[in-house]
């Protein structure tokens, strides 16, 4: 060990080492903001959140430019979209459980929670498909239709991504990889799901309720 004494063997010009700290006993992963992936997920949420903000900004810009809204189409139906929203809100609890049980490293319960979340995800995609059929406007109809479909498309892309991610993670937890740092990944996946839900609520109000109030 070189502690204290300069090592004669270091390559020319490199400073000899003086050990002042030992990392042997440090944990090999952790949860939430202690883990880099959590920050990476937050970063992607920021980027995508910015995308939503801009799309919503464009929506109101078009409302402002046109004065009347919606343009030559009735407001979209509430039934499927509201059902979708309710299920989204309902998913918050199992999502919370998945995160918590991940943190407890309870494999059995994590498996259960991820299966539930996958099923909910698939159901949400089904509801979204129904919802898309009741917008009463197509994207190539007018600017109103374009922006409605843009918002829906953006959100559906996020929904789809996270559902696929959840399913893959669920499968992973049933294989021999289901231990250790994967529990931390479960938490980050749940974190992203919160984002998917949180970004939907304003979009839901804007697409489905705002035209009725305007």
């Amino acid at each position: 060990m070189t502690a204290g004494s300069p090592d004669p063997q270091v390559p020319s010009g490199l400073l000899p080492h003086r050990i002042v700290l030992n990392a042997r006993q440090m944990p090999s992963y952790s949860y939430g903001p202690r883990s880099p992936i959590w920050w990476g997920t937050l970063g992607f949420c920021a980027v995508e959140g910015m995308g939503f903000v801009l799309a919503v900004g464009a929506y109101f810009y078009l409302v402002f430019v046109n004065g009347t809204w919606p343009l030559s189409a009735p407001a979209p139906d509430l039934f499927w979209s509201s059902l979708h929203t309710v299920l989204m809100l309902g998913s918050l609890y199992p999502n919370y459980l998945a995160k918590r049980n991940g943190e407890r490293e309870d494999l059995r319960k994590v498996r259960r929670d991820l299966v539930i979340m996958s099923l909910i995800g698939v159901a949400l995609l089904g509801l979204r498909t129904m919802e898309l059929g009741t917008t009463h406007v197509k994207w190539d109809h007018n600017a109103y239709g374009s922006i409605v479909w843009l918002l829906l498309g953006l959100h559906t892309a996020h929904l789809l991504t996270d559902v696929v991610d959840t399913i893959v993670l669920a499968v992973l937890m049933f294989t021999r990889h289901g231990h250790g740092k994967r529990f931390s990944d479960v938490g980050d996946n749940a974190f992203y799901w919160y984002f998917v839900v949180a970004s939907w609520l304003p979009i839901y109000v804007i697409i489905y309720w705002f035209p009725r109030w305007w």
């Binding site: 030992n22 990392a23 944990p27 109103y144 893959v168 992973l172 990889h177």
Partner: protein, 670 residues
Amino acid sequence: MTRALTSHEFDAVPEVTRLATGERGGLPGVQSEADAPPSPDELRDDQVDGPELSARLAKTWGTEKGLIGALSTVDHKIIGRRYIITAIIFLFLGGLSAVAMRLQLAQPESKLISPDLYNQLFTMHGTTMMFLFGVPIGEAFAVYLVPLMVGARNIAFPRLNAFSYYVYLFGGIMIWVAFMLNIGPDTGWFSYVPLAGPEFSPGKRVDFWAQMITFTEVAGIAVAISVIVTVFKMRAPGMTLDRIPLFVWAELVNSFVIVFALPAVVTASAMLILDRLVGTHFFNPAEGGDALLYQHLFWFFGHPEVYIIFLPATGWVSAIVVTFARRQAFGYIALVLSLIATGFLSFGLWVHHMFTTGLPQLGASFFTASSMLIAIPNGIQIFCWIATLWDGRPVFRTPLLFVIGFFFIFVAGGLSGIMLASVPLDTQVHDTFFVVAHFHYVLIGGNVFPLLGAIYYWFPKFTGRMMSERLGKWHFWLAFIGFNVTFFPMHITGLMGMPRRVYTYLPEMGWGNLNLISTIGAVLFFASFVLFLYNIISSARRGPVAEPNPWNAGTLEWAAASPPLPQNFDRVPVVTNREPLWANRDSLPVVAGLSVENREQIVSTITHGRADLRESSPEPSIWPFLTAVATTITFVGSIFTPWAVVWGSIPLALALMGWFWPKTSTEDER
């Protein structure tokens, strides 16, 4: 705080509790695998030393030989080097298209280049310079240098980083191939609608432009996130916020600006391509759309873009100034706060690009004021640099010469910018060569000159050899003179009324002589780059061998070998000072206890930089490359049929699964 360091007064290593958190990984009361003691069979770096340690670590962190190995690498230095070289190739391509334009403009009624080709040339020039050179070059340096400067062994998300490089490369190749096939974009670097819309620009040209934006912005955002997390979580123990090198601060602020600005241009270009390909009406006034919406979205990105190009350059300048002034930065805190202020203010100003579109009076005055406001942090930075040099013992080597050149050119560009920031004058010279002159002073002064300095400065680190000083001085003077001869006359041609983006002009206008001078300057300027290229190639082959720290600089990248070994450092350094190598001249305080057989790195806390975890860093993988290929097929396919997005997403999803699926026994991928 900013006085020169003379003795070892900062040398003292703080007690262990200030360097490490000592916290468990699992939640309280949970028997977590995170806290399992490390396997006793695994060799750790407190058990070996010297060349053996170097060699073993180099094997663990190394890149396999062969094509698959090269495409699977996750080494930030290899990816960073490719990024830098690619961005510079695009700088040359953009420069060549500029020289072609200048040759055409050298005399009135020249027949060298057709109007259609001229349109493509200025579009390709602007697009290449802004999207394929300007944004990536700053990030490229971050990819290479930030991990080294914060004492890490790799960037935070190395596979994402590799993916981003390939996406960027493929996007750049796509647009240049389109140009060679005579389907290059021709609507200017900001492709305004309605000109770029489906009605006035049928065909595929603008579609390639819009998808090129998607490629480069996806890449740019991915790198920005990797850099942010590297700076937040991968810093060497002891690197508190006020010990982060100024270059790293600049790249951090830059990454934040990227994260919030780039989504706007992606939104704009996505709407544009949707209008063109699937018949949406975002920008079609006949169906309730609005063309100004495009301009707002574009400039919401476009103005910060100027700072995305400028911020990394401030980092290069700070690093060079401090090293060659031989003292710590004067006003470190002021410099950091100015960087942050620039980052915020850069978003307040986009509307000034739209003064001529007839904004309400009050709004216009507001935006004039805030455009001027940004001069304050920029002024503070320039003041601090000059004060650092003034108070130090400056050594005028080539890197510093380029920094001095930057001061002059950038300040001149700032002055003409202040002229433009007033609405009445802007309406006068709007869309003339005055504007072209202004933004080249800002862009070339603010980015290219510091970049050249940065290359001279870090070349020994990148290659292990020094560049020729003699050629470097020639290069500098040729570039400085060539630049001014090219662009100064353009102010006058602009004031004389010569519009930009015209392929020729009549002899009666009297613009001929000035244009000829500009062209001669452009040839000189281009010659300086040829000299530069020669210097790079000959020095890389035969230049004098560089020591690890040839300039006697203070930041951590100089504690690694030149060029650095795959592991960067044999042991992770512990930081006790803003200029760690000036504070520890005889030996480097380090952390021990990391694995020699697996890629382990220290994860630390955001503000205090306390060591917290020893996490694994991802192994090499071919999947990021394959994912980039799948992405490319999807994006390019979408130009021809919207269904490409649907069927392209299947290979994309498969590739992503391959990427994230853990490999055999090694845990903790991703």
